[in-house]
Symmetry: C2
Subunit: 223 residues, 2 copies
């Protein structure tokens, strides 16, 4: 998450094929190495990022996806708040964050990988506290809602989201601190709870909306 937008981490390729083009960071696995260790190592080598929680996502093996031969790629997913700044590494000329909307076109079949992964995250946000990974350690309900809105690319009703999020047991732990500095009432800060699945789930809107358009009511209350 960077400035209320979902970004992905890209590197600019130093070598052929696709030299100079943008791609997802990655590389080969060594013989003695577990897959997740290889992913972690490549991430660090190419972007300097450490300590990210990597979750296995999928595998891509269509013949011809890599002009060098029959390359099988295992993809990994990590969600980070906006604190990290990537630094280019050995195999990469440069590294940067790019809004996921504007990422295409990428090298290899990485557009497809990004598309699949985004859809995966969208679904997982409903049943896991994964969105918390995209917030700083202590966050407000509004900041959490901003994450959901960015990933789902929708507008959510502020009040209904608030009510539903707090109803889920083990999702959010309230602290005794508040976010101040901006205009408005001070917003309580929350941390991630101990639940690893959300019951009930926090479902994204599915119907086109029964009564009216999904327009937030901007007008104030009657005096």
């Amino acid at each position: 998450m960077r400035s209320d937008d979902l970004n992905i981490l890209l590197v600019q390729r130093r070598k052929a094929p696709f030299k100079g083009q943008w791609a997802l960071p990655g590389g080969g696995v060594k013989r003695t190495e577990d897959l997740v260790d290889a992913a972690r190592r490549e991430l660090q080598e190419e972007t300097g990022i450490r300590h990210a929680q990597l979750d296995q996502r999928g595998i891509y093996a269509t013949p011809g996806r890599d002009p060098r031969g029959h390359v099988i790629s295992v993809t990994w997913l990590a969600l980070l708040p906006d604190l990290t700044l990537p630094t280019a590494g050995s195999d990469a000329k440069a590294a940067c964050w790019r809004p996921v909307r504007d990422a295409a076109p990428l090298a290899f079949d990485h557009d497809e990988i990004v598309r699949d992964s985004l859809e995966h995250v969208r679904g997982r946000l409903e049943h896991t506290p994964m969105a918390v990974d995209l917030c700083v350690v202590e966050f407000t309900i509004t900041e959490l809602r901003t994450v959901y809105e960015a990933v789902w690319n929708t507008q959510l009703d502020r009040r209904n989201f608030h009510r539903r999020a707090l109803r889920i047991p083990g999702f959010l732990d309230r602290t005794d601190r508040y976010r101040i500095g901006s205009t408005g009432a001070p917003a309580p800060l929350y941390t991630r709870g101990n639940a690893d699945t959300l019951h009930p789930p926090l479902l994204r809107p599915r119907r086109p909306s029964p009564r009216s358009n999904p327009t937030p009511d901007g007008q104030g209350p009657k005096p």
Copy 2:
């Protein structure tokens, strides 16, 4: 599906390691071969089954999962109605269907693979017409419900299931034929519709049940 129960296809290993033990069918990929072709070939060699629709499921690469070395396994999933009888092939001493409940213990980490895959199928049944793959070409609503009950390991209300399944556009196409032979009214036969996702989804019961136990009302109507 065999006799209202969800079964998985197992082979008995002919060679070490785990010689004589039951395992999922599988084998190595050749250099020129796409992954799905390798899976299809191994399935046919070891069990004689052809023409199954294989979907990629996951990848398993934990070091030590195979005593022969660092083996990375890509797993594939196919759902079949109960017409097929496996025949043992080259690398397998025998092949059989086994109820998924009674499958453990299997060779390697195949118990874990089975567990993950079952959970995956359980979720997919809510959003895809995948359950139809476990029925014969023309099936009754009751037969379809039996599939859902077997996979989810629950009892579903006959009438509510009926109503909800038929409400989903593109899920089921009614034929003009009926299933007869057993007692009771003739049941209309259906075929799979053209939808590839279910809107609205056919969700499995999540709450413990608000009013009473999930007991079907066995008693007949009042005269």
